[in-house]
């Protein structure tokens, strides 16, 4: 049964994509659905789902990075791969193309591939190459311009990626093929149809570097290994990561740089891809340390682990962010070594527990006790601001802050307290179901809310209270009697 998808284009249902049987029935994309059904009532038409198609294309892109990391989307139905340096891994460009076609077939996808010296030529051959007799899908590198022009001549003008109005105009003028434009003088055609037509032609033939080229995301350094069959055992994977790290470090040493963001990509035999990334606090060039960080990261994945069902057959280690790094020099008192030691510990803890769980304290200049300290990830470069040493010897007119509790509760907890009205200190209170009798109290310290905000909240009167057993608490009463009828008491911190 011929299959087609349809979409609503300008309030009419039109065919979007067709399978080979439908194409054989002389149906075309863009034809109205009603016309198509009238001709062939047996046509099966389903609604197109562009978002699902885009997602599938992205998955295919992620999987096709196994051939080369330089892969880019060519929406809506294609992928562009830059295989400039990767052909020798497969034994030549023709073998690479055969391998790509075989892999796509194994995945159950019908793909038309074309390999050419320029991206525009590859695009043209992939989409319109089927009109060529004999069928060409491969143009070897180093082809001179005349042969290239002869090979690409029979292609229709739409292969230059021109819009349909321009193509129709050229067809009315009798220009239908690429060969028609190559040989004719340029000036009259450019005067009527514009010059970008010739810019495209030059890019196709390789005379100029095209201004429009797909954007490739290429990591600065990478090392990869391919295997004939999938690797499943974790020891094997860790050993391979170590050897990849050694290759990567050789590359980094040659350029005098160290890696700060590493990514390990695991390509599974059945098409799934898994990425693990690790960030470090200093430029790293030691293969043992890199392997160890990845080992901690794999352990942190838990019991499921890497999910290597049938094995991974391509493993790639890339350095996504690098920094220049000189040679390691041992200093006389080994201060450099101790910094590296601590940084290595922070990296290992961050790899296993998560980067945000290893933090340092950064003091902020805020009067609100909740925001006076900010926790900064220890691996980041910014040095936390040191708490300014208080000058106790000078006679300061503004006295220093009252003592603060050693432990601050994450959220202030509601307590029941008895205190004399209106602003007396508490006499006894109940917190977490335990009654405390207060024997000594200091305060109040009044901390006002941020008056510049729209809903500022209530003023807090903080008290430092010590109970009969000697335990000290930091409580506050929220709300003055002129602000609210019923102020509430909260517990905010505990003293040492």
């Amino acid at each position: 049964m011929p299959l087609a998808t349809f979409m609503k284009i300008k309030s009419a249902l039109r065919l979007a994509a067709l399978d080979p049987r439908a194409l054989a029935l002389a149906l075309e994309p863009g034809m109205a659905l009603a016309d198509a059904r009238a001709r062939h009532p047996a046509l099966l038409a389903i609604e197109a789902n562009p978002s699902a198609e885009a997602k599938i294309l992205t998955d295919i892109l992620a999987w096709s990075r196994r051939f080369t990391p330089l892969a880019a989307l060519d929406a809506p139905d294609g992928i562009m791969l830059d295989v400039s340096g990767a052909a020798h891994l497969f034994g030549g460009e023709e073998k690479l193309q055969a391998e790509i076609e075989a892999r796509f077939q194994a995945q159950g996808l019908t793909a038309r591939t074309a390999l050419a010296p320029t991206p525009e030529a590859a695009w043209a051959l992939a989409r319109y190459g089927h009109v060529l007799r004999p069928l060409i899908s491969f143009l070897p590198d180093g082809l001179d311009e005349r042969r290239l022009a002869r090979a690409l001549g029979p292609l229709p003008l739409a292969a230059l990626r021109l819009d349909t109005g321009l193509v129709a105009g050229l067809a009315r003028a009798g220009l239908r093929r690429v060969s028609d434009i190559i040989l004719r003088p340029r000036a009259p055609i450019a005067a009527r149809f514009g010059t970008h037509l010739f810019a495209r032609l030059d890019a196709l033939l390789g005379r100029t570097k095209s201004a429009i080229s797909p954007r490739f995301e290429a990591p600065p350094y990478l090392a990869e290994r391919r295997f004939a069959e999938g690797i499943v055992a974790r020891d094997g994977i860790e050993a391979i990561i170590l050897s990849l790290a050694q290759d990567l470090c050789t590359l980094l040493t040659r350029h005098g740089e160290g890696a700060r963001h590493l990514e390990a990509s695991f390509f599974r035999v059945d098409g799934a891809v898994k990425h693990l990334d690790v960030r470090t606090s200093r430029a790293l060039r030691d293969p043992e340390a890199m392997a160890r960080l990845f080992r901690d990261r794999i352990e942190a994945l838990g019991d499921a682990g890497l999910e290597a069902d049938y094995g991974f057959d391509v493993l790639r280690l890339s350095a996504l962010a690098v920094e220049s790094k000189g040679e390691d020099q041992a200093s006389l008192d080994d201060t450099l070594n101790s910094e590296n030691d601590l940084a290595g510990l922070i990296d290992r803890l961050g790899a296993r527990l998560g980067v945000r769980r290893v933090t340092r304290l950064s003091m902020q200049d805020r009067h609100d006790p909740d925001f006076a300290v900010v926790y900064v990830p220890a691996a980041s470069r910014a040095r936390p601001r040191k708490c300014a040493p208080r000058d106790i010897s000078s006679d300061a007119e503004i006295p220093a802050l009252p003592p603060r509790p050693l432990r601050l509760l994450l959220h202030p907890e509601l307590i029941e307290a008895i205190a004399s009205v209106p602003d007396g200190p508490p006499l006894r209170f109940r917190w977490r179901r335990v009654l405390h009798e207060i024997a000594a109290v200091e305060g109040p310290e009044r901390i006002a809310p941020d008056w510049w905000k729209e809903a500022p909240g209530f003023t807090r009167d903080y008290f430092r209270a010590e109970d009969r057993d000697g335990q000290s608490f930091w409580l506050f009463r929220e709300g003055l009697y002129r602000e609210t009828i019923e102020p509430r008491w909260f517990m905010h911190g505990l003293f040492a």
């Binding site: 769980r357 802050l401 050693l406 601050l408 310290e445 003293f495």
Partner: protein, 320 residues
């Protein structure tokens, strides 16, 4: 805040004396040259908790102080004393840091999430009152006890931290002789002191059995309160800890100690050491009280009641 030069000189003198007594080759205890060489004499070196010239009563019970590279456990006496136990541990870590060769050595504090929720998170502005600069602290938050023990072992394997504090909650099932032995070995090999706060075992200090070298039980003591004017409640004084030595490894000469004795200690920020806290009835002498404003972060002493009132007005004017 760091220990004065006189303290370092005393430390070096003690070190040289022990070396001369041992008669062995020169192996510096905490310098980087002795990478990986287990130095037997490092075990004999002890860090005194009080001032070297005026040792506190706990130092005498410990026969000199706490040894370097070892594991020390701290347990709270009651559930409400957990914050005090962490304050005591922080002060002990500050003592270790003061004896370090470099002044920028970091203290690593590993906290389990449950302990964070129960007792709260360490608050930066108060750390200097226990002798630690907030810029030298690295906080590690872990999800459960197993992860905390792993993180503590990893941190103890490094030589650069001044001390490693681990505040772990769920130790009941997984902490036994074997687990503690791993921590002890890691600490001994690298020379980094480890301080384990058994936060979930408040009140169970006597029942805990492990391979650690020393164990303290910490409770809060009533602080020396100052009277306030007008018949109001007295003002709380400096923080006082009541420490009980539950376990201590016998030194080369062997000794016994009194397990029931409570040592009352407080922290002196100026000299960065512990001091014996005077009993409740004796007020602070005039030498401790200067003509400074009432809220003075350095010593935490309270001025006279008159200073308090003047400052009360100043505080209100400041925050209004």
């Amino acid at each position: 805040m760091p220990a004065g030069s006189s303290e370092r000189v005393d430390f070096l003198r003690a070190r040289i004396a022990s070396l001369e007594a041992a008669g062995g080759s020169f192996v510096p205890a905490r310098s980087w040259c002795s990478r990986g060489w287990p130095s037997a004499s490092a075990q004999d070196l002890r860090v005194s908790l009080g001032d070297a010239r005026a040792p506190c009563s706990l130092d005498q019970a410990l026969r000199g102080g706490l040894p370097w590279g070892g594991l020390h456990e701290i347990v709270a006496a009651r559930p409400g004393d957990r914050a005090a136990a962490s304050g005591f541990t922080l002060a002990v870590a500050a003592r270790f840091a003061a004896h370090q060769a470099k002044t920028s050595a970091k203290i690593i504090w590993i906290i389990e999430t449950r302990a964070l929720r129960e007792t709260g998170t360490p608050y930066g502005p108060a750390l200097s009152s226990c002798g630690v600069d907030p810029a030298h602290l690295v906080l590690v938050e872990t999800r459960d006890a197993q992860e905390s023990l792993w993180a503590m072992e990893e941190a103890l394997k490094c030589r650069s931290p001044a001390a490693v504090i681990g505040e772990i909650w769920g130790l009941a099932k997984i902490y036994d002789l074997a687990a503690s032995r791993r921590l002890v070995l890691a600490a001994r090999k690298s020379g980094t002191p480890g301080l384990l706060i058994a936060a979930g075992l408040a009140g169970a200090a006597d029942r805990l059995s492990s391979g650690a070298g020393t164990r303290f039980e910490i409770a809060t003591g009533a602080s020396p309160r100052l009277p306030s004017a007008g018949g109001r409640m007295p003002l709380p004084g400096k923080t006082v800890w009541a420490a009980r030595l539950v376990k201590a490894r016998a030194g080369p000469h062997g000794f016994g100690f009194d397990r029931g004795k409570l040592h009352r200690l407080s922290w002196d920020p100026e000299k960065a050491c512990f001091r014996d806290a005077l009993s409740l009835g004796v007020l602070s002498l005039s030498g401790d009280r200067a003509s400074r404003p009432a809220w003075s972060l350095s010593t935490g002493e309270r001025g006279a009641a008159r200073d308090f009132h003047e400052d009360q007005i100043g505080a209100e004017a400041r925050s209004a």
